[in-house]
């Protein structure tokens, strides 16, 4: 069972529910929180890595709560028209999703490694890293 990386976005009311607990307890999933931005009385987001046979059921449970569930690699895309392969992003990307290929010095992007921290969207001088919601 390979882990599934998902992005959750929730409204003000659903942040109070113990969703991670439910995923673990009711659906027997292994949950790894990769990134979370959750504040009381505010919209929030969470990036999870979930592993388990019943992950689809667990995700349906989240959708029924009105939480938007998306595959993580849909989150950040590189606009290849804009990217000039300068490499500025490779020094800041915390997971190595953006990396220098040596010796060609071309910049690779592996969406599976991306945790949607958004640092590259600020650092890229060409504004080539785009957030797709």
């Amino acid at each position: 069972m390979s882990p599934k990386r998902i992005v959750l976005r929730f409204g003000i009311d659903s942040t109070v529910k113990p969703i991670v607990y439910r995923l673990v307890k009711d659906y027997d999933l292994v949950v790894n929180i990769m990134r979370a931005d959750v504040n009381p009385k505010k919209e929030g987001m969470m990036v999870l890595e979930v592993t388990g046979d019943r992950s689809e059921e667990g995700l349906d449970y989240l959708r029924n709560l009105g939480i938007s569930v998306q595959d993580l690699n849909q989150g950040i895309v590189r606009n290849d028209e804009k990217c000039v392969m300068c490499g500025a992003c490779t020094g800041i990307c915390p997971t190595g999703a953006l990396y220098m290929q040596r010796p060609s010095m071309e910049v690779g992007f592996d969406g599976d490694q991306c945790v949607v921290c958004l640092l590259c969207t600020k650092v890229c001088p060409m504004k080539a890293m785009e957030v797709h919601l």
Binding site: V84, C86, G87, G91, I92, R102, M105, P125
Partner: protein, 158 residues
Amino acid sequence: MINVEGKEIGSAGGTLAVTGDLKQMSPRWLIGTSYLGYGATLSVGIGIPIPILNEEIARYAAMKDEELFAPVVDYGEAYPSFTPGNLGYVSYAELKSGKIKVNGKDVITAPLSSMSRAREIASTLKGWIQKGEFQLTEPVKTLPSPADGFTAHSIKEA
């Protein structure tokens, strides 16, 4: 450039002032960019042929990454406060490896200019030269130098 042991080392840096007709330029080589913490600027891709007129030029033009050095500058504190000096020199080979040593510590490196675009420019220029399409012209005007009483001024940051 002289390193700590007083040895002359190859300097890889330089600043060029150029002029050109904006309307004939391609957006592939001239892009408006924005650097976090620096501001708006232009990213320019430019190819410069180096005529190998003598052995000295040949020697400099043939220098490898291992022989070209850049100073490590502290842009956090030293540079904005006009503190002279640097944290040592590193070669382009070290910089391109992705890691350098500064004061005994490993520091990650990342480029800011595109090597792959640079190669593209170089091969385009090579193609023009081989086909005889690249022609030299007389300089329109020479640029002022310190010999003409030209001095550079620094702006103190608040």
